[in-house]
């Protein structure tokens, strides 16, 4: 079932690392302007789903359609230039480059991708903290600052879809709150977001729709409100 107008349509992908299969036919859709969340415990395949979409770990079966075009098997740089911006879980920046250089390199690398709406200035408006750190090497930033820089760097590529892999992981609660506000702001500005999270509260506050993964397959899909309002369901799907 391919809905009309889906920005991203992941169709029954199966992905393995060598011989160990991780995904068993995962299908998800993301529509323009939506914030979709992949929920699930550690090791259920959230990161692998993201990596499969980006072409970093290509699926051996199934298809990834971007604006109706089959991008399965494309090298990651082409996927990135097509308008998919990936913020990985380990949120590593380029440690030997300054904050400014990290951003500059990203906008050059992504040339030809998407609409040119993000400039370094605009990104600094979004993350004012980074403006104060322009000349500092990425390696000397705190965890929260690195997370901001990773998101900012990805935005410099002018993505139409932002894939955020566990952005809240390992950050202090106050930093997580701040990050949530920034992501909400990006969504208000019209950016489409696919969020992979373990932090249920954090993601339900942002998401329109939710997919719950379990052991490499979909366990549930539906509006975020269904989980928000139904504690029993939430407990059943996600209790540790």
């Amino acid at each position: 079932m391919m809905a009309r107008g889906a920005l991203l349509d992941v169709h029954a992908i199966e992905t393995a690392y060598g011989l160990s299969r991780v995904l068993f036919g995962v299908s998800i859709e993301v529509h323009p302007g939506e914030c979709v969340c992949l929920l699930g415990r550690n090791g259920v395949g959230k990161t692998t789903t993201m990596r499969s979409i980006m072409g970093l770990t290509p699926p051996h079966a199934g298809r990834v359609l971007w604006r109706g075009r089959d991008i399965t098997g494309w090298p990651a740089y082409r996927v990135a230039r097509a308008g998919l911006g990936f913020v990985p879980e380990d949120r590593r920046i380029f440690a030997d480059l300054t904050v400014w250089e990290n951003l500059d390199v990203a906008s050059r690398a992504a040339r030809g991708g998407g609409s040119k709406q993000f400039s370094i200035e605009r990104v600094f408006d979004l993350f004012p903290k980074l403006r104060e750190l322009t000349g500092r090497n990425g390696g000397f930033l705190s965890g929260g600052e690195q997370q901001m820089l990773t998101i900012a760097r990805t935005l410099m590529g002018n993505p139409e879809l932002l894939l955020l892999d566990e952005p809240s992981e390992g950050l202090a609660p106050i930093v997580v709150d701040h990050l949530g506000e920034q992501i909400a702001r990006l969504k208000r500005d019209g950016l489409t977001i696919l969020l992979a999270e373990q932090n249920v509260e954090f993601s339900l506050a942002l998401a329109d729709r939710v997919y719950v993964l379990e052991k490499g397959a979909l366990r549930f899909s539906g509006p975020a409100s269904a989980l928000r309002d139904n504690e029993a369901l939430r407990h059943e799907l996600l209790a540790l």
Partner: protein, 324 residues
């Protein structure tokens, strides 16, 4: 005090000092300095791969050799003037790097290194066997010096020997090449190479076509190695197959590591140190490779950043001490 020292135009001072060597030093020191300069360029070209892009090549001598043969054959057999034969070394070496690199960048890490080595051995074998063109095992002696008559008419340097004139030309050309390489690594292109060195996958998903950038770096490094080779053939008064042999590749790799691949001026420093060490130790003992090996092991363990890294640490400590 330290900041004022840091702001001094160091590269210009070094060039000026280098130009003075024939006037103040003996013929031997000029010879040594010429050797150092050419290897400094060779090592810096390798550093573009090892230090800046994170690609360890075990076969960089291939391009050095191709450059040397190009200039040598053009000048000796075809009487092409140096102004054309020298850039041709860079062009031919760059073209060879384009062909070999096309395959090499498809592999990573040790496989990349082994393939660069394999291609270099092929180049060596061709130089060794292709008698009609390369002179085969005997090599090609008596490469002519470039026509530098115009230097005779210059004040001060007019009465110097031809080899000194060639040395002065080497200083200028190496300085020019190093300046160009410095511009390259400081450019946005150089920063993209840095992202590849730090993490190729991460570079890839921000949109960098990693293989293409690696190939460009490979070609640029090969071209500059070729230029170094072109100069070396003339300096050496002959071109021989061992220019492309794996021992040359390892020598230049050692210089790069010894000097410090983390910095731009590390490899030239490594070239200077290795050649001087060689010269000194050889005059004391026939077991110089043993002594050299020991020195290298100690250096690599104590100063993994090489000589340049060590100098950086010392100067920062000094700066802090002076400020306190």
């Amino acid at each position: 005090m330290m900041t004022r020292l840091g702001r001094a135009p160091w590269p210009l001072l070094v060039v000026a000092l280098a130009l003075l060597v024939p006037a103040v030093g003996s013929r031997f020191y000029t010879f040594l300095a010429n050797d150092v300069l050419i290897w400094a360029l060779f090592a810096t070209s390798l550093n573009l791969l090892v230090g800046y892009t994170g690609l360890v090549s075990f076969g960089h001598a291939a391009y050095f050799g191709i450059g040397a043969y190009t200039t040598g054959i053009l000048m000796k057999k075809l009487a092409v003037p140096f102004v054309l034969a020298f850039p041709a070394a860079g062009i031919f070496a760059g073209l060879a790097a384009l062909v070999f690199g096309f395959f090499c960048v498809r592999l990573t890490r040790i496989y990349f290194a082994m393939l660069t080595l394999a291609f270099a051995q092929i180049v060596w074998a061709i130089c060794f066997k292709w008698n009609e063109v390369t002179g085969g095992e005997q090599g090609m002696p008596e490469i002519p010096y470039p026509a530098l008559d115009w230097m005779d008419r210059l004040p001060w340097v007019g009465d110097l020997r031809t080899s000194d004139h060639f040395y002065l030309l080497t200083v200028l050309l190496v300085a020019l090449c190093l300046w160009a390489l410095r511009r390259i690594v400081g450019s946005p292109f150089g920063r993209i190479l840095t992202t590849i060195r730090e993490n190729p996958e991460r570079a890839e998903f921000i949109g960098v076509n990693v293989r293409r950038y690696e190939l460009i770096a490979f070609v640029v490094a090969g071209a500059f190695a070729g230029l170094a080779g072109g100069l070396f053939g003339i300096f050496n008064r002959g071109v021989f197959p061992d220019f492309a042999y794996w021992t040359k590749s390892s020598e230049v790799l050692i210089m790069t590591l010894l000097g410090g691949m983390g910095t731009f001026y590390g490899p030239p420093l490594g070239a200077l140190a290795l050649i001087l060490l060689n010269q000194q130790i050889v005059s004391y003992t026939e077991y110089w490779p043993f002594v050299l090996g020991t020195i290298l092991v100690v250096l690599l363990f104590v100063f993994p950043g090489g000589l340049a890294g060590a100098a950086g640490i010392v100067s920062r400590r000094l700066a802090r001490a002076l400020r306190a």
